[in-house]
């Protein structure tokens, strides 16, 4: 499946992801970053499709785009609503930040491209994984699955508890 | 079953962790329930125990199942140490006659201790969590058959003890706590070295690997000939024995390593004193019987005389020091030094009578000394002093208390009909029957007289006669025209109240019953002790 269209589409999505991610980071406006994060997530989802993990792609879209991102935006608006601070957010120790950013990226890329000893195995994943994910979830990963669900429940309750207002003794939380 | 009895208190501790610290009553009740459950399991073990199996060494075919009971054996830590060797440590629990009595004792004393902790008001949550941790560690020491596991529990015991003395103790508690801690740590460091040495000199006959299993170590055939602690290195074996012995002797405590005991007791709160004297001291002698002697039988046989001399010194020296004390609790502390001397003497005898006496003395000293410390705590709660000359004539005003004290005191001085006598008698019978310790026994019989002397003297000064001029309580004429006493800022009952009676009465009953009919305990230990004696006697004499 190395048709040029495939490659082109891949590069499109890759670029979308990376640039929007960069925009997320570098834009000064929280709202903008939030929206560009939306594109990043879409791009990642697309990459998941390329990685033949369609189920995950859907989950990505549903959870991230439908959940987290809305949550973030909600938080942004929300905080804006209750607080009248401007949405510009300035930065601190920018120099070490950039240095480390560049350094990390460079180092990692260097590693990848110098030590290219990846040996792709013969049995690669193909096609849709939904069924296998279902099997795995119910067979191998049933315990993590349960634990994760409990964790999620606890997290939601905790979030609700933490975020509630009108308790005067919130200050000691 | 054993895992259950070991980890019950820790579970209780976890539950307590979840209880908000304001709910003191719930915390207390939870740990009381845990202690009672532990007691129930102990009773089950006692009933299900088969006294015919000897224990000590492996049964037929090198497997412990033939001789130990309730065995639980799982691989626990298996490390490849590269060039050195592979470190395989087992989670190996089991019970024989030597440990089953101690299990019962531990369960009993920890339950009593929880009851007497009821009056602790300061940081109840932390106190009971530490207490339960301590209880688990003690129980673990008694059931562990893997040296490494034993060591883990042994060290695990120190920490809670340190804090329990250092936080809930008396005025001079930090000093006492750190002293206790350093002393015991000093001992256990050497124990660690010997443990490693033993590991590399013993081969498990079943698996063929090195092993920490005490059962395998107790069989001299499993030693590598030219290993560091193998049969050929006599000198190293002597050194290892001495070092290990010191490690345990500190816990006993044996003269001259005993000075941590009086301080620790005087500073510790009553329940901790009860635990300390009731169970922890036994761990020293238990360690000797389980580890020190059967692993180095020939060294033990060579050093019986010295051990006996130390035992005699403990007996007489402790009695004399107790005679001179002004502080009631300190006197009791020295008395327990003296009584542990009997255990040492019985062990030194190296024959069945002596060993049985020693083991039985360990049990009885656990119950009796627990009683003594509880009683001292009772009077301390009321009068806020333990100075003997601050009392006098209490017998007229606290009859029940006096009666219990009299029983406890006489049990401690070895009155026939109470359990202490039988054990002391057996210790002497054994020590005299073995030619090695005959003259030592003849000397240490003096301990009987001086024991009676200090106990009766304190009894007279505290309870008999009339109230002293500077006593810690006042006389007043009650409504019924009789004289009563009242202690300053003590609101409760003057005589023993219900809680104190529930602590004391079981101990009294046990003391009397075992004094009249000792077989319930002796029947369990005899076969193991006979086996142990057989292991200890060199082939030449056997």
């Amino acid at each position: 499946m190395n048709s040029p269209t495939y490659t082109v589409i891949f590069y499109l999505f890759a670029a979308l992801t990376v640039f929007s991610a960069a925009f997320v980071v570098f834009s000064r406006n929280v709202i903008y970053s939030a929206f560009s994060l939306l594109f990043t997530f879409f791009g990642v989802a697309a990459l998941y499709v390329f990685l033949s993990a369609d189920f995950l792609a859907v989950t990505q879209v549903v959870v991230y785009v439908g959940g987290i991102l809305v949550l973030l935006l909600f938080g942004v608006m929300f905080t804006k609503g209750i607080m009248n601070t401007e949405l510009k957010s300035d930065v601190l120790h920018i120099i070490p930040g950039t240095l480390i950013l560049a350094g990390t990226i460079a180092a990692l890329l260097y590693t990848f491209y110098t030590t290219h000893t990846w040996k792709p195995s013969e049995t690669q994943l193909h096609g849709s994984l939904v069924e296998r994910i279902g099997f795995e979830t119910m067979s191998h990963y049933v315990l993590p699955f349960e634990m994760v669900s409990i964790l999620l429940l606890a997290a939601l309750i905790g979030a609700a508890f933490l975020a509630r207002f009108d308790k005067p003794d919130n200050n000691n939380l | 079953m054993l895992s259950l009895i070991v980890f019950l208190p820790i579970i209780a501790g976890l539950i307590i962790l979840a209880v908000p610290s304001s709910q003191k009553q719930i915390i207390r009740i939870v740990s009381l329930l845990a202690a009672l459950a532990q007691g129930v399991v102990a009773v089950l073990i006692w009933r299900a125990y088969d006294p015919s199996l000897p224990g000590i060494t492996a049964g037929p075919g090198g497997s412990p199942l033939g001789s130990f009971q309730f065995v639980e054996k799982l691989p626990w830590i298996g490390l490849k140490l590269g060039g050195l060797a592979s470190l395989n440590i087992e989670y190996f629990l089991g019970v024989d006659g030597i440990s089953v009595t101690m299990i019962i004792l531990t369960a009993l004393v920890s339950a009593i201790g929880v009851l007497s902790s009821w009056t602790i008001q300061k940081q109840v949550k932390g106190y009971f969590i530490l207490y339960n941790l301590l209880a688990s560690a003690m129980m673990g020491c008694f059931v562990a058959l893997d040296f490494f596991l034993f060591y883990v529990f042994w060290e695990l015991m120190l920490l809670p003890m340190y804090f329990l003395i250092g936080i809930w103790g008396g005025p001079n508690r930090e000093y006492a706590a750190i002293k206790f801690f350093l002393y015991t740590l000093f001992g256990s460091v050497f124990m660690l070295l010997v443990m490693i040495g033993l590991y590399f000199s013993v081969i498990d006959p079943v698996t063929g690997n090195h092993t920490f299993s005490l059962v395998a170590m107790a069989n001299q055939a499993n030693y590598i000939q030219d290993a560091i602690l193998g049969p050929q290195n006599a000198m190293w074996r002597y050194i290892a024995f001495a070092v290990l012995f010191v490690g345990f002797a500190i816990k006993v405590p044996m003269f001259p390593f005993h000075t941590w005991l009086p301080d620790a007791h005087v500073e510790a709160p009553t329940p901790i004193s009860v635990i300390l004297a009731g169970v922890l001291l036994k761990l020293g002698t238990y360690g000797m019987m389980r580890i020190n002697f059967p692993l180095f039988p020939e060294v033990f046989h060579a050093s019986m005389y010295i051990i006996g001399i130390f035992g005699a010194i403990n007996i007489i020296y402790g009695a004399f020091c107790a005679l001179a004390q002004q502080d009631l609790k300190k006197m009791v502390a020295y008395s327990s030094i003296s009584h542990m001397g009997y255990v040492l003497l019985g062990l030194a005898a190296g024959n069945s009578e002596g060993m049985v006496g020693a083991l039985y003395q360990m049990f009885n000293h656990g119950t009796i000394t627990a009683m003594l410390f509880l009683l001292v705590g009772v009077i301390y709660d009321r009068a806020h002093t333990r100075q003997i000359d601050k009392f006098g004539g209490l017998a007229s005003y606290m009859p029940v208390y006096t009666a219990v004290v009299t029983i406890a005191w006489f049990a401690s001085l070895g009155l026939p009909g109470l359990s202490g006598f039988i054990s002391e008698a057996f210790v002497f019978v054994g020590a005299f029957s073995s030619i090695t310790t005959r003259y030592i026994a003849m000397v240490s019989v003096l301990g009987i007289v001086f024991g009676a002397a200090y106990l009766l003297w304190s009894l007279q000064r505290v309870f008999l006669g009339k109230r002293k001029a500077d006593a810690a309580y006042d006389l007043e004429i009650g409504a019924d025209g009789h004289e009563h006493i009242h202690f300053h800022d003590w609101k409760g009952k003057i005589d023993l109240d219900a809680r104190e009676l529930t602590m004391l009465v079981p101990l009294v009953v046990i003391t009397i019953f075992l004094g009249i009919y000792p077989m319930p305990i002796l029947g369990m230990i005899t076969s193991s002790v006979n086996k142990l004696v057989e292991v200890l006697t060199p082939l030449a004499i056997r």
Binding site: V25, V30, L47, L71, T79, I100, L101, L129, A159, A163 | -
Partner: protein
């Protein structure tokens, strides 16, 4: 140029490296707590990409499952984090992370 086509493992890794770098950068530099959270999300996505890529080219299901769990946990984390942010605002009257230095001394 020939190693840009066909699409191989390195491509995905590269993307994930970029996402990771940006995420780190956000976490390091941005003062607005919410942007910091976004950075965290980016990092998580980078990790996911790695997982999936490796599991695709290795043929195992482990990576897939793991990234699934990562997504779930990310959701939980986002919820909690936002709640925390709101609390932070309640206490410090701002979402400026750099102004929250009560741990100092």
């Amino acid at each position: 140029m020939e190693h840009l086509i066909p699409i191989g493992l390195n491509h995905y890794l590269t993307i994930s490296v970029f996402l990771l770098g940006f995420g780190l950068f956000a976490v390091m530099t941005r003062k607005n707590a919410i942007v910091v959270l976004m950075g965290v999300e980016l990092i998580l996505n980078a990790a996911n990409i790695n997982f999936l890529a490796f599991s695709k080219y290795n043929g195992g299901m482990g990576g897939v499952m793991f990234s699934l769990f990562v997504i779930v946990i990310a959701a939980a984390e986002a919820a909690i984090a936002l709640a925390i942010v709101i609390n932070i605002f309640k206490i410090f009257k701002s979402v400026d992370v750099s102004s929250i230095d009560t741990m100092k001394e």
